[in-house]
Amino acid sequence: MLIIKNLSKSYRTKSGRHYVFRNVSIEFPENSNIGILGRNGSGKSTLLRILGGIDYPDSGTISCDKTISWPLGLRGGFVKNISGRDNCQMICNLYGIERHAIKRKLEYIKEICGIGKYFDEPVKYYSSGMASRLGFSLSMAFDFDILLMDEITSVGDQDFRKKAKQMIEEKRGTTNIIFVSHSASTVREFCDVGIVIKKGELYYYEDIEKAISTYE
């Protein structure tokens, strides 16, 4: 169960304090893939970062009894001058995974991300699609309960998107996604319930179609 209580978040701008969220509370439903819709700059990514524990609200609490992934997205969490393999190994080390398990995970990641020999090349030579393939595959190796995904860029091209969707389907029941987007069609593809961000408020819809129609 993922619950947000009285969340407020603001940024200092040149023309004074800008509130992204003001005293927002919401309960995320269990066992469903959640699509979060909002216009550019509405606070989607901020929300995702807060859920991922890498940004901090001014006030309010987030409580969750499940494991949440890091936010997957374009920016990525990879060190540019070392290889994809070294990055994955380091991130496994960060999470304290045993050495023999790391070896298995690396094989698994290499297999599903499908970037071939680039796996052993420095990440700076990757295209953005390759980097997002690697990011998605890495998070798949970790068996999180909730996957945080930012935009469609986090799953690469059409081919890989299909594969990603299939993998998410397979893990339904154990892994759910929270998917942030400004595009209705991709949200429709991946999610069953919707949340619309509008003027710093969160509106929950049990039916994704309803969310989309309000959003549009």
Binding site: R49, G52, G53, I54, D55, Y56, W70, P71, R75, G76, G77, F78, V79, K80, N81, I82, D86, M90, I91, N93, L94, Y95, G96
Partner: protein, 261 residues
Amino acid sequence: MSHAWKTQKNVVFALYIRELKARFSHFRLGYIWAIAEPLAMVALLSIIRMALGKKDIAGISYPLFFATGIIPYYFFQTSVTQLLSVIESNMPLMNYRIVKPIDPVIAKIILEFLIYMGTGVLIVGGLVFLGFGFTWNNTLGLILVMACLISFTLGIGLITSVIGAFLHESKKIVPIIIRPFFFISGIFFPATMIPTIYRDKLLWNPLLHVSELTRRCIFEEFTVSHGNIMYLFFCSITSLGLGLCVYRVSRLKLSTSGNIR
């Protein structure tokens, strides 16, 4: 071990491995480069000293004297200046909630300390092998002095990490500020050789105490130490406290500064 400690231990260890690879993978024979700089400095100072024709400094043969001053100082200098860019270079890893900005700082300090300790053992061992002798004095004292040096460096290092993350100019300014300490930290002369009126002022510098006390603990022959372990201890605790305060105040900004830039 509690969960938080275990997590941090894993994170620091992973970052330590990363720093280790980054430091040594650029060049072939990377380990030799780590020794080369202090070794060259010891050789240079020794040659100058030799030309002046004197054999000992305060009862210690001069290469040993220089080596025991240079190595602790280089540990401090290298750590503090390299930490200026530690937040920037580890920014991608702030994407993982278990990584806190202080973790790469700790990893870096541990790595630099181990490198310079290894270098120190090799250089001093090599000199003994070449026939420069001394009588070992006080192991426990040396451990205490090194602990103070680490704590002092970590405190200052935390401050430079924060400054480096927010102020780009600091990457030029801080090394300039630190450089003069090479000449006033007792690396190539003991405090006893400084005229009394200046000595009292220079002894405010904790790094001078580090040099004096390191030699006092290693060499039984070095009997003229002006180092005061209580003063060094006080400085290291103050530095660490101050560093942790600065970190604590700015830690949220540090880990999210990548979002804003």
